[in-house]
């Protein structure tokens, strides 16, 4: 992480190109699945893109419940532009802001 608070935008932007799910996203998938399991959630959406700045990007939405009400977690996982197995991710509440 070059900047502590820097991560890909929550929605795909023009510099990104659509990608297909492949082995190249495997470590992103592992992170998404692990967090979904941890939060007793279910992955309901996945979007695969690539960008020169962020490398491979997997955006996922995890459906879960908070206090018995349906809620969700937005999750972005990305590889970075350099080749290597490491991935990073960011999460936020998928709900109307406070």
């Amino acid at each position: 992480m070059t900047d502590d608070l820097d991560f890909p935008p929550w929605d795909p932007v023009g510099a990104e190109t659509p990608a297909v799910n492949s082995q190249a996203f495997a470590n992103c998938e592992i992170a998404v699945d692990a967090l979904a399991t941890r939060t007793a959630g279910r992955v309901i959406d996945r979007c695969y893109t690539e960008s020169p700045k962020w490398g491979r990007i997997l955006r996922a939405r995890i459906a879960t419940t908070h206090a018995g009400k349906p809620s969700g977690i937005d999750m972005i996982t990305w590889t970075g532009p350099a080749a290597g197995p490491d991935v990073r991710f960011a999460t936020r509440l998928d709900a109307p802001p406070w």
């Binding site: 470590n27 991935v87 991710f89 960011a90 936020r92 802001p97 406070w98």
Partner: protein, 312 residues
Amino acid sequence: MLAQRLARAWASRGRQVDDLMRFTHEGLVFGAGSVLAKAAGDARDVRVDPGESRLRTLLAAAHLSQPRAAALTHLAKAADRWREGDEGLAAMHLALSGLSRLARPAADAHRLFLADGLLKAGLDEADVLAALGSLTKYDPDQPRVPAGSGQPSGQWTSDGSADGSSAASNTPAVSPATPQVNPGSVTPADDRRYVPGFPFHGEDACAVAIDECRAHARSYRFEDQPPSDEDYIAPGLTTRIAQCHAWALVCEGTEALVKHPETHVSGGIVTFPDGGQVIVKRGQDPVYYPPYWRGRAPPIWRGGRPLPRPPG
């Protein structure tokens, strides 16, 4: 008759299909409630035997391919961590197995359900696999029991030696190269104190973020949200508090993912519902940034008490 019974049971099942494998009070559950490994009395007492033919048959039915030994070892480790109460590591080993998600949830769960029903009805695992027939992908890399080993040759075995020794063994095939986290080696939290409004570096960053999130939930005004029945005293309060608590799972899960070397996750950013953030990087203490860090207005702030700004 059996086919009709299974069809009726599938049609009348009371559960939705879940595409992720999970530990529940029933045990290790997958698809439409099919139990891969049953809990023995206590919900925590779940054991996975990588060599168990029933488990391998069910997974073959779910994924249409024979599970690999390394994947089964991860399931066994997940059960071990679950028994120890470490849900984070259990979830990680499930994900690392590569077996924990159904590619085509409805169809895969249905096939798993049918295979489970056939086994419960007394069919042999070999018969169920034969029924799956050509649906099951052939994996030429899957080790087999060689001829002359004293066991039926040609059957799948769970280790890489292909000597058949683990085909009937109850001992999980743990690779010595696979690192494991020793919960006893976790460094205790230090005594650094959090100063409200300033970044906090330390292992308690998630706990600080959760406390701050709850404090903000109580202190913010939410005039734009109508009161509901359950929180008529403070509109939206119970929902906001619940969101803070839910985010504890996300934050702790992020820490666990980054700490675990097998995940290849080198960093995570958790944005709490109040706008606070926790940054977790491999090999470093996590850091909590309150919503006003660097003079930024909290991105989802709606009023209430202003947080103190850091100097400069």
